[in-house]
C-alpha cells in the first residue's frame, strides 16, 4: 500500500550503489548485525542448546512440559490472558483512535502526547502506580469506603488487577496501530457513503471497519505477542493462582536452578510467539506490522 521509492525512479545518488554491487549497503548494517549476533543470537542459541542438553541430552523437558498438567495449564492461562488483553485493548482503544483520527490537528497532537506519555513511562513504574491506586489505602478504596461504607474491596492480587494493568500498559500499541489505519481512510469516501444515504451506523460497519481492519489485526497481533511474555506485572499484582509462563520460567531458574527446564519453557514460549507471527506473516506480511 505504501509508496516505496524504487532504485530506478528514486534519487540517482542512492540508486548507484545498488547497481554496482549488492554487498556495500550491508556494511551499514554490519555493526547492528554483529551486536545482535553477539548479544541476542548467541545467547538464544545457548538457550536452545540447553533445552535439550541440560542436565542430560534428549527431549525430556519437552515431553515433561507436554504431559505435565501444571505447565499446560500455565500455558493455556498465558494464551487466554493475552487474548483477553488484546480484545480489551481493541474495545477500549478503538474509540480513542477514532477520536484521534477525527480530531483537529491540535487536539490530535494533544491526544497523541497523552497516549505516548504513558508509553514512555517505565512499565515497572506503571505497575507500581496501579498498586497504589488499587491498594487498600488508595483512592478507590477510599471512595468505596466513603460512598458505600464497609470494608474496602480487595482489588489487588486478582485477575482483575493484573489484566487492568496489562491493558493499560499495552493500549498505546493498539491505539497507534488503529490510528495509523484510520488516518489513511479518505474523508471523501465517508462523505460519499453518507451522501448516498448510508446512516452513520452503516458507514461505520461497511466502510470504516473494513478499511480499519489491517490496523485491528496489527494491534491485536502486537498486543497478543507482547502480552505472552509479560513477567513483572502479573508477578507483582496478579493472583498467585493465575501465573503467566514468563513468571514460571523465572521461578524455575531462581528457585530450582532448572536451567534446562526453564530453557525448554522459553523455547515453547518463543515457538508459540513465532507461530502467531508466522500466521500473521502468511496472511498479511510481517513488514506491515509496525504500520
Amino acid at each position: 500500500m505504501r509508496a516505496v521509492a524504487s532504485p530506478a525512479t528514486g534519487d540517482a545518488g542512492f540508486a548507484v550503489p545498488a547497481a554496482r554491487g549488492t554487498w556495500r549497503p550491508w556494511l551499514l548494517v554490519a555493526p547492528l548485525l554483529a551486536f545482535l549476533a553477539a548479544f541476542f543470537l548467541v545467547p538464544l542459541g545457548q538457550v536452545l542448546v540447553m533445552s535439550v542438553t541440560d542436565p542430560e541430552p534428549g527431549f525430556g523437558h519437552f515431553v515433561a512440559i507436554a504431559t505435565d498438567g501444571f505447565f499446560l495449564r500455565v500455558l493455556a492461562q498465558t494464551f487466554a490472558t493475552a487474548l483477553l488483553v488484546a480484545v480489551l485493548t481493541l474495545l477500549l482503544g478503538f474509540p480513542l483512535a477514532y477520536a484521534m483520527a477525527e480530531a483537529g490537528p491540535r487536539m490530535a497532537a494533544l491526544m497523541m502526547v497523552l497516549v505516548t506519555m504513558s508509553f514512555w513511562t517505565s512499565f515497572l513504574v506503571r505497575t507500581y502506580a496501579w498498586m497504589v491506586i488499587l491498594g487498600k489505602s488508595g483512592p478507590i478504596a477510599w471512595l468505596s469506603a466513603t460512598l458505600l461504607g464497609g470494608a474496602p474491596p480487595e482489588l489487588l492480587f486478582t485477575r482483575f488487577s493484573s489484566t487492568l494493568a496489562m491493558v493499560h500498559i499495552l493500549i498505546p500499541y493498539m491505539v497507534l496501530s488503529l490510528y495509523a489505519a484510520l488516518r489513511r481512510i479518505e474523508p471523501a469516501v465517508l462523505r460519499s457513503a453518507a451522501s448516498l444515504g448510508a446512516p452513520p451506523v452503516s458507514v461505520f460497519r461497511h466502510v470504516i471497519l473494513p478499511l480499519a481492519a489491517p490496523g485491528v489485526v496489527n494491534g491485536l497481533t502486537l498486543v497478543f505477542v507482547l502480552c505472552l511474555g509479560f513477567y513483572v506485572t502479573p508477578v507483582l499484582i496478579g493472583s498467585p493462582r493465575e501465573q503467566m509462563i514468563a513468571g514460571v520460567i523465572g521461578h524455575q531458574v531462581e528457585e530450582f536452578l532448572a536451567f534446562g527446564e526453564a530453557s525448554a519453557l522459553s523455547v515453547v514460549l518463543l515457538a508459540s510467539t513465532m507461530i502467531v507471527l508466522g500466521v500473521y506473516h502468511r496472511r498479511f506480511g510481517l513488514d506491515r506490522l509496525w504500520g
Binding site: G135, E154, E254, E255, F256, L257
Partner: protein, 350 residues
C-alpha cells in the same frame, strides 16, 4: 580534574555513606589501593549494604588495602551460573542454610577449611560456609485490626478468632515448618517435617492467603499499607516499621531462625582475599556493629560482648529471645527439598 575514574567512584561511594571523616581517610587509603586488589562482594543493597560497608568493608580495606566493590542483587542462580561460565561478577556472597546445602551439593563453593582454627565456635563453619548472622521469620500483624491478641502461629491459622487476610513468603522450606506449628506441632518436634500434614494445614487457610511475598521490601509494604492483616515476615522489616511508629507489631514466639553464611564462589581467581574477607567479617566487634545496624542477630557468640541490652532485645539470637525461636533443620528436613519446593509451587499456583 586529574583524578582517575576509579578515584571518582570511590569518592562518590564515600560521600554516599556520609561518613564523617570518610573523605579524609579515603585519600591516603586510595593511594595505597591503586595497585591493590579488588574484591567483589554480593550484597542485598540498601541499608544492608550501608551497614556492611561501614562495619565490614571499610575496616577490611583499612586493614588490607584491598578495595571492596559491592554487587547487587543477591542471586543464587547467578552464583551457579558464574561457576559454570567462569566469569565472576562476585567472589563472596551470603547464603541461607537451604541454599548453602544446595550450593554445597552442586559443588559451587570454595573450601573454607583453612579458617577452622579461627572460626571455632559451635556451628561456625558448616559445609564451606561461615555462619555470620541470623534473622527470624516472625508472626506480625496489623494492630488496628487485632490489637495485641495473636500470640502464636496457631492464631495465624485460627480464622474464626482472627478473620482477615494472611500472607507468607513464597518459600517452601520456611513455610512448611510454620504450617506445622500453626497446626499445633510443638516447635521442638517440627523436624523431620510431616509434609502431608503441612500441606493439609495450608489448604485450610489457602482462601485467606491473598498474596505471597517474594521480596523483603514487598512484605513490609503489604503489612504497612494494611493490604494483609497477618503476615509471616522477617523480624528486621517489622522492627523498621515499628521504629517508624506504624501500627504493626510482632512476637518472637515461634520465630524461625534463618542463618546467613558467608561463602566463596568456587574457582574465583581472588579466593585468598575472599577467604581473608570472610574471616574478618565474623570478627566479634565488627559483626556486632553490622548486626545492630542491619537488624540481625550475630551467630558468633562472642559478639554479644559488644551488644547493649537495648539492642539485644531486637535480636533473634540474643540470650533473652533465642529460647522462643526455633532453628531450621535442612539436613533432617523430612523430604527432598527440591521436590517439596516444586510441589509447593504447584500448590500455590493451583
Amino acid at each position: 580534574m586529574e583524578r582517575t575514574t576509579a578515584s571518582a567512584t570511590r569518592l562518590t561511594r564515600r560521600a554516599a555513606f556520609s561518613l564523617g571523616g570518610g573523605l579524609a581517610l579515603s585519600i591516603p587509603a586510595f593511594r595505597r589501593l591503586r595497585a591493590a586488589e579488588t574484591l567483589f562482594v554480593n550484597t542485598w543493597g540498601g541499608p544492608w549494604e550501608r551497614a556492611a560497608a561501614k562495619h565490614l568493608f571499610e575496616p577490611f580495606t583499612r586493614e588490607t588495602g584491598a578495595d571492596i566493590r559491592p554487587v547487587s542483587p543477591v542471586s543464587f542462580a547467578k552464583l551457579a551460573a558464574q561457576v559454570r561460565s567462569g566469569a565472576y561478577e562476585f567472589d563472596v556472597t551470603t547464603l541461607g542454610l537451604a541454599e548453602l546445602v544446595r550450593a554445597h551439593r552442586a559443588n559451587l563453593l570454595e573450601s573454607l577449611d583453612s579458617l577452622k582454627d579461627r572460626v571455632n565456635w559451635r556451628g561456625g563453619l558448616y559445609l564451606n560456609g561461615v555462619a555470620s548472622h541470623a534473622f527470624a521469620t516472625v508472626l506480625a500483624w496489623n494492630q488496628q485490626k487485632y490489637g495485641d491478641a495473636p500470640r502464636t502461629w496457631k492464631d495465624f491459622w485460627d480464622l474464626a478468632r482472627f478473620p482477615g487476610s494472611r500472607c507468607l513468603q513464597r518459600y517452601a522450606a520456611r513455610v512448611l515448618p510454620i504450617a506445622l506449628a500453626g497446626d499445633g506441632v510443638p516447635t521442638d518436634k517440627l523436624y523431620p517435617l510431616d509434609i502431608e500434614r503441612a500441606f493439609r494445614a495450608l489448604d485450610r487457610i489457602k482462601p485467606s492467603l491473598r498474596v505471597w511475598w517474594t521480596q523483603g521490601q514487598q512484605s513490609a509494604q503489604l503489612l504497612r499499607d494494611g493490604e494483609v492483616d497477618m503476615i509471616g515476615i522477617w523480624h528486621g522489616r517489622v522492627i523498621e516499621l515499628m521504629d517508624d511508629n506504624k501500627p504493626v507489631t510482632m512476637t518472637w514466639e515461634g520465630g524461625q531462625i534463618d542463618r546467613a553464611y558467608w561463602v566463596v564462589a568456587r574457582g574465583t581467581p581472588r579466593r585468598d582475599l575472599a577467604r581473608r574477607f570472610v574471616e574478618a567479617a565474623v570478627q566479634p566487634e565488627r559483626l556486632a556493629g553490622f548486626c545492630k545496624e542491619a537488624l540481625y542477630g550475630p551467630l558468633n557468640p562472642n559478639s554479644f560482648a559488644y551488644v547493649s541490652e537495648a539492642d539485644a532485645v531486637r535480636m533473634p539470637t540474643s540470650p533473652q529471645n533465642y529460647p522462643k525461636v526455633f532453628e531450621q533443620d535442612i539436613e533432617n528436613f523430612g523430604g527432598d527439598v527440591t521436590q517439596v519446593t516444586s510441589r509447593f509451587e504447584r500448590w500455590v499456583g493451583a
